[in-house]
């Protein structure tokens, strides 16, 4: 168990080091953050002073070594643009992204799993065929385009929902969340739906094929041979088995929801981490980009760990055996 965790952590560290090295090279290669920030009238001395102040006068590997050294002390540096600790900026934005991702995952699960179960159980019915075809379409629609179409349809043509921004937030345990107010919900709905659509189709198709697979198993035949009620066969025997892939995949997809929030947040002007990332890339605000990567990698590692634990919980075959 601990060996397993250590391996995961090392993996995370490697991802982070690689990605941050890339970012350092990137910022070095793309351009000069100062070109955007320094006052147009500034002369060479001004620019040199600022450059040295931000440590940008060094070659990238020196900058990188300094960064790694500082990171070991828990310091990820200050945003070039905002002047505040980069990690704080990212953490400030995290609740909005997590709220969006959780909402999307819940939508995907609540819609995708029941429909997938239906498609898996009744593959020949016309409704299942229709759902199946729609899920394939949902699987094929690029997230950003869905967002645009939602804005056009629900925001502009029908005028039912706001087209962007986060709306009113209320504090829950000191974290600002949208779900506390109607206005918050109205703002959350479209981006969450947009983000959910792909995952919903994915979960639907996964559930359907897992259900079909489970129905072919001998234990289902044996359960029928024992005269069990069909509902019990579906909701206990089949469901407990398909829950394993569903939970595993939802967990892993949660990571990609956070990644794809970059797109959704840009389309809907949702003030989350993803939007911060895109802005930071646009401004070459390297500390923020690196801090974003650190936070997301940490999130992904945590998610993977939770998924493994859940997996062990759901599937007795991999359960931690208590000491005999």
């Amino acid at each position: 168990m601990s060996g397993f965790m250590i391996r995961r952590l090392i993996q995370a560290l490697l991802v982070l080091l690689t990605m941050s090295a890339l970012v350092f090279v990137a910022v070095f290669a793309i351009g000069d953050p100062l070109a955007l920030l320094v006052d147009p009238q500034a002369d060479r001395h001004d620019i040199a002073r600022v450059r040295a102040g931000l440590g940008l006068d060094q070659p990238w590997w020196v900058q990188y070594a300094r960064f790694v050294g500082a990171m070991a002390h828990g310091d990820l540096g200050r945003s070039f643009v905002h002047g505040e600790p980069a990690i704080r900026l990212v953490l400030e934005r995290m609740p909005a992204t997590l709220e969006l991702a959780v909402a999307a995952l819940l939508i995907a699960l609540l819609v995708g799993v029941p429909l997938g179960l239906w498609v898996g159980l009744q593959p020949r019915s016309w409704s299942a065929r229709l759902i199946d075809a729609l899920s394939l379409l949902g699987f094929s629609l690029p997230t950003f385009w869905v967002g645009m179409m939602f804005i056009m349809l629900f925001g502009v043509w029908l005028g039912w929902l706001p087209t962007g921004g986060r709306g009113e937030t209320t504090l829950w345990l000191g974290i600002p969340l949208s779900i506390g107010s109607l206005d918050g919900w109205r703002h959350l709905l479209l981006p969450a739906l947009t983000l959910a659509l792909f995952k919903c189709s994915l979960l639907l198709r996964l559930t359907a094929s897992a259900t079909r697979e489970a129905l072919r198993q001998d234990y289902v035949r044996f359960a029928r041979a024992r005269g069990l009620h069909p509902a019990r066969i579906v909701f206990v025997h089949v469901f407990k088995n398909i829950l394993i892939p569903i939970v595993t995949v939802s967990g892993l997809e949660f990571g990609s929801l956070i990644a794809f929030a970059v797109v959704t947040e840009t389309v809907f002007a949702w003030p989350g981490m993803g939007k911060l990332l895109i802005e930071a890339i646009g401004q070459l605000d390297r500390p923020v980009v690196v801090a974003y990567l650190l936070v997301t990698v940490t999130l992904f590692v945590t998610i993977n760990l939770v998924v493994d634990l859940l997996y062990a919980l759901l599937d007795p075959r991999v359960r931690l055996r208590s000491r005999p």
Partner: protein, 322 residues
Amino acid sequence: MSVLDVKDLTIHIGDTKSPAHAVDSVSLHIERGEVVALVGESGSGKTLTGLAIAGLLDPPLRRVGGEITLLGEDLSALPERQLRRRRGDRLAMVFQDPMATLNPVLRIETQLVETIRAHRNVGRSAARDEALAMLDEVGITFPAQRLRAYPHELSGGMRQRVAIAAALINQPALLIADEPTTALDVTLQAQILALIDQYRRDHGTAVLWITHDLGVAAGFADRVLVMYAGQIVESGPCARVLHAPAHPYTAALLGAIPGSVPPGTPLATLPGQPPSLSPPPEGCRFRARCPRAEAACIAAPPQVAAGEARTVRCFFPLVTPP
């Protein structure tokens, strides 16, 4: 009265235009406490016959004819809801692969208790006690501990015992056993056979034993039915059929067993393969491989010649059924 009486069971596979006639007019009956072995090569239709009796045929398999009477009740006329009440209660079925028949994510207890409570109005704890007793009866040591276990924590032999316990827990009148020992080692095979034999003696359960292995049938069954290409070609008391087979196919099966001839000498074999059943060949289905086939065998299908206790589907049987 027979526990089970099957008349002219016919099963088709696939679309209605050109279906494979997988099982063709199979009739059989089993008395209380009797063990009947249904023997045949893979593809002969023996498993389908078992599934059809239990009402477990799924598309593309279709029962297109025949009557199945269990304890005087015509199962073939029952709606699925009623049929379900019979399954696991009056008739039970166990399958070949003990690794796959138990649900891997449910405890043994759950799977036994649900079987009881699906058919009888028994409290949870009473059902649990029953389950415990049943595990004990099928020879599982430390039953209370096993009850809490998941299937993967048990060995293959133990799993098959649990599956048999789950099948028999409501004391069915008929047990359909579809090759339950094939996947097991010879020693375990013998144990399972002994277990079922003992249970049958204790409770008078009728057993339909489906197997490809004449050897297993020989030591265990009262009567044997030999299937070839969807039809029963020979039936009769076990000892007599194996000792003096009437159908050339039965004879070939016996002759192919190593040990039937001195070591080093060639075994008796048959040329060719079983025929395709969509559609089945005209005349005798065995004739293409039969050493005794004549013109008559092509012209018309042989009728069942029935003696007192034996039947044979052949124009030229090796022995005449008495």
